[in-house]
Symmetry: C2
Subunit: 474 residues, 2 copies
C-alpha cells in the first residue's frame, strides 16, 4: 500500500501552512468560523487569511490579496461564492499553491450557470495540475494534525481512529455537532468530497488505506466516479481495515432526491450490491448507522466471530433479542458446562441458567454489580463466545452499582471480545452510566437492539476481512 505521506491527499490533511481566501472578520460568517475552528483545534501550522478589507482577524495577520501571499504554502481554502472561486483558484495556482479546498456551493449541483463555472474549474485543474477537494463541500477534518477546513462552528473536535468519507455536507456540520455533543468518541479524518471534480471517493479511500492514523473507514456515497478503480482499491483496503458504506439513492424516489442535491447521477443499486460485497465493503441502510458504525469501530475491536452472549433482566427481552439476533446474522450459542455451572452458582438455585443469561435472579438476590460482573466474566471466559452485551437494569429503587469500574476492568482483561452495553433503566441512571463508561472507552446504546445492530456491522467487517485475506492467499 502506498505510503500515505506520498499520497496526493497528504498535504490536505497534514498541511504545514494554509491560506484562507474569503477569511472574514464577521462572527457567524463561514470565513470567520473556519478561522475560529482552526484556532479552537490548536492547529500548529501557519495560517494566512486573505481579505482585502481587514488587516487582522482573531489576532492573525491578514493578506489583502492572493498575490500578496508568500510562496510555499501547502494548501489553500477558498471560501467564496461560486462566481469568485475561479479567480481565486487561478491566483492560488499562480502562487504555487497546488492543493485547494473549494468550500462554497453554487456549482453543478445548483444550475446551468454553476455547471459552467464547475467546467471552468475542471479546465483549470487540467491545465495546471492542481489538486482540488470539492467544490460544494462543508470541509474536511484531520484531528491527528489538529487541522480542519470545516466552517460550521464546531470548536475542538475530539480525536478518534475512524475516518469518514462523505458525499454530503451534513457530516462536517450538524452530524458532527451531534457527535460532539451526544457522544464521547472522536474522529480521525473526515473528508467531505462534495462535487468531487478532482479528488473523489477512490482517492480518499486510497489515502485512508495507507494512513497509519486510520483504523477503519465509514463512507456515505451517492455515486461512484470511477467504480472499477474504487472496487479495486476497496478489495485491498478491506483485507486490513473495515470499510462501511451507506449508499444513498438506492430507491427510485431516493435517486430523484439525489439529483436535486448533487450533480452526480445515482448508480443502479442492484448492480453494485454484489460488487461491493465482493470488495469486502459492509453496507448499512440508515443514516444514523453511519454514526453507529463510527462509534462501534472507534470503541471496540472486531469480534472473532458472530457468537454473542447477552445478559438481560427480563425473559421477554431474552426472547425478543434472541429473535432479533437471528435477523442480524448473529448466533446466541449454548455456553460450556463450566459457564453454566458458574452462572448457576451466582443465581438462585431454582433458576435454570443458560445463554442468553437471565440476570434478574442474581441481580435481585445478590445485587446488580455482583450479578453483572460475575455473569459477564463467566461468558467472557467462554471459548464459545465472541462478544458480550449486558443490558443493565438500573433504577435507584432496585439497586445501582456503587461504581461501574468493573465493566472497563473486564474489558481490559478480555481485550479480544467486544463488550457493548445497553439499558433497561431509569433515565438519570442511564445518563450517569453512559458518561462513566464511555469516558473509559466502553460504548453504550440507549435502545436494546442497537448493540446487536452495531455487532452485526462489526461481524460483517470481520467476515469480509477473513474472506478477502483468504482470497488473497488463494
Amino acid at each position: 500500500m502506498q505510503s500515505s505521506t506520498k499520497h496526493a491527499l497528504f498535504p490536505f490533511v497534514e498541511p504545514e501552512s494554509v491560506a484562507i481566501v474569503g477569511a472574514s472578520a464577521s462572527p457567524g460568517k463561514a470565513g470567520y468560523e473556519l478561522l475560529r475552528n482552526l484556532l479552537a483545534n490548536e492547529y500548529r501550522g501557519k495560517i494566512y487569511p486573505v481579505n482585502p478589507k481587514a488587516s487582522e482577524i482573531l489576532g492573525l495577520r491578514v493578506y489583502p490579496t492572493v498575490a500578496d501571499l508568500p510562496g510555499g504554502i501547502d494548501v489553500g481554502l477558498v471560501i467564496l461564492p461560486a462566481e469568485g472561486t475561479v479567480a481565486a483558484v487561478r491566483g492560488l495556482a499562480a502562487k504555487g499553491i497546488r492543493n485547494q479546498v473549494l468550500l462554497a456551493g453554487g456549482f453543478a449541483e445548483l444550475d446551468e450557470a454553476g455547471a459552467r463555472i464547475q467546467q471552468e474549474l475542471i479546465d483549470i485543474i487540467r491545465e495546471t495540475g492542481i489538486r482540488v477537494l470539492g467544490p460544494n463541500t462543508s470541509g474536511h477534518i484531520s484531528t491527528p494534525h489538529c487541522f480542519t477546513s470545516a466552517f460550521f462552528p464546531l470548536g475542538k473536535i475530539r480525536r478518534g481512529s475512524v475516518s469518514v468519507v462523505a458525499q454530503t455536507g451534513n457530516f462536517a456540520t450538524h452530524t458532527m455537532k451531534h457527535i460532539l455533543t451526544h457522544e464521547y468518541f472522536g474522529v480521525c479524518r473526515v473528508l467531505g468530497i462534495g462535487n468531487k471534480i478532482d479528488i473523489d471517493e477512490s482517492d480518499a479511500l486510497e489515502f485512508l488505506a495507507g494512513d497509519p492514523e486510520t483504523t477503519a473507514i465509514v463512507m456515505y456515497l451517492e455515486s461512484f466516479k470511477r467504480p472499477r478503480h474504487f472496487l479495486e482499491i476497496a478489495r485491498a483496503v478491506t483485507r486490513v481495515k473495515p470499510v462501511v458504506l451507506l449508499k444513498g439513492a438506492t430507491s427510485a424516489a431516493g435517486k430523484q432526491a439525489a439529483v436535486a442535491h448533487t450533480a452526480a447521477m445515482a448508480s443502479q443499486d442492484r448492480l453494485v450490491d454484489a460488487m461491493l460485497r465482493q470488495a469486502g465493503i459492509v453496507r448499512v441502510w440508515k443514516y444514523s448507522h453511519l454514526i453507529l458504525a463510527v462509534k462501534a469501530l472507534s470503541m471496540v475491536c472486531l469480534p472473532k466471530g458472530n457468537r454473542v452472549s447477552f445478559l438481560a433482566p427480563s425473559g421477554a427481552m431474552l426472547v425478543a433479542l434472541t429473535d432479533f439476533c437471528m435477523g442480524q446474522g448473529l448466533v446466541v450459542p449454548a455456553v460450556s458446562p463450566q459457564t453454566v455451572a458458574r452462572l448457576q452458582e451466582i443465581s438462585p438455585a431454582y433458576l435454570p441458567m443458560r445463554n442468553p443469561v437471565d440476570i434478574w435472579g442474581a441481580a435481585s438476590t445478590k445485587g446488580v454489580e455482583f450479578a453483572y460482573r460475575e455473569g459477564m466474566e463467566a461468558v467472557l471466559k467462554d471459548a464459545n463466545i465472541d462478544a458480550v452485551v449486558p443490558v443493565l437494569m438500573l433504577a435507584r429503587e432496585t439497586g445501582v452499582p456503587p461504581s461501574y469500574e468493573f465493566i472497563p476492568e473486564l474489558v481490559r482483561r478480555y481485550p479480544d471480545k467486544p463488550v457493548l452495553v445497553s439499558f433497561s433503566a431509569a433515565k438519570e441512571c442511564e445518563e450517569e452510566c453512559k458518561a462513566l463508561l464511555e469516558a473509559r472507552g466502553v460504548p453504550t446504546f440507549p435502545e436494546i437492539e442497537q448493540p446487536f445492530e452495531a455487532l452485526s456491522i462489526l461481524v460483517q467487517c470481520r467476515q469480509a476481512m477473513n474472506r478477502l485475506q483468504a482470497s488473497a492467499v488463494g
Copy 2:
C-alpha cells in the same frame, strides 16, 4: 362489543376495594412497594392490607388474616411465595373475593413443584369459579382508576390512552420506569398476564376492545392460549382500535429462550403470521418498538394514508430517508404546484424546491423558525400529504427558534395529519426542544429514522382498519 363494565376484567381494573395478602411493613419488599404505589397513585378505593405481624402500614389499618377481612371486597392481590399462594387463594375465595391477582413467581415457569402448585390453582379456579390474573405477573396498572397491583417502585404513573397486554413482567417494572423517566406520554391499562392460568390475552383484548378509556392496544405475546378465539376478537377490535403486537419467540433460538421463562410453548411463527394480518393486527419486530408504538399511538392520530412529506437540512438526509421510507411502506410523493411555489418563495431563488423539502436554504437565509414554520405549513396544507416529519436543525451557533410553540400550533390547525419530529442537532437544543414539544403533545424521536418507523406502524394500523371495515361491510 360487550360493555366493559360487565366484563370479567372490569373489577380488576376499576375495583372499589382491594385486599393485599402479603402486605409488608419493610421498605424494599414487594408487599410494601405495592402499597406505596397505590398511595402514590392516589387510589380512592378501600385498601385492606393483610399481615399477621403488623397492625398498621403506611397509615393503613392491617388485618392479621384473610379470615378477618370484611365481605364485599372487589379484588384480592396475593403477593406471597408460590407455596403460600394456594391457601391465600382459597381463603380469599371463601371470603367471596372472586377476583384475584397472583403476583409471585415460582409456578410452572420454574419447575415441577411449581407446576404442581399451578395445577392446584387451576383446580381451585374450576371448583370456585373465581377469576385469576397471573400467576408470575409483575402486576397491572389502570391509570383512569388510579389503581395498580404493580410492586416495582414506580410512583405516580402518568395517564394515557393506549393500553398494553404483556406476557412479560418487564413492562410493569423496568420498561415502565424507562417510559416514566425518558418520556412524556402515559399509559391507560397495563395488563401483565403472566402464566395466564385463567385470564389470557383473549380476555384482555376483549375487555380493552370495549373499554372507553382505551384508544389503541399494544401487546407482547409469546404464545396464544386460544388462537382461534383470539383472532376472532382481534378481527372485531381492529376495525375500531389499532392493535400492535410483538410476537416473541419467532426464531428457533428465541423459542428455546422462551421455554426457559414462560410455561407456555411458543407457537409456530410462520403459521400465525398470515392469520394475524388477516385479523388486522400490526406486527413489530423489536422490543423497543413496543415503546415506539405506544408513544406514536398515544401522541398522534392515524394518518389517512402513507404519503409523507419531510423537511431536513441535508441533501444526504433527504436521499437516505427517502430510500428508508420505501422500505417502510411509505411514499414521498410530489406536492402540488402551489406547494412548490410556496416552498420556492421562502427559499433562495436558485434552489429548486420539491418534496422532500431541503430546508437548509430557507433556514440559513431566513432563520430556523421561519423556515420550518412556513415549510411545514406548506406541506401540511397539501392534499397529497398525509403526515409530516420535520428534522429540525438546532444548534445555538446557527440559530434556534425563540419558541417552539409554532409546532403545536400547526398541529392544532391540521389535526388530521400526524406531525413527528426528529433532530439534526446539538444535544442541549434537542433535549430542550423535546421537553417543550412533548409537554404539548408533539412526539419527538432522537434518531432520524424513528419517526418513519413510527409512521409505518400507524399507516399499517390505518390500512388494517380500512381493510377490516371494508370486509365487514362486504
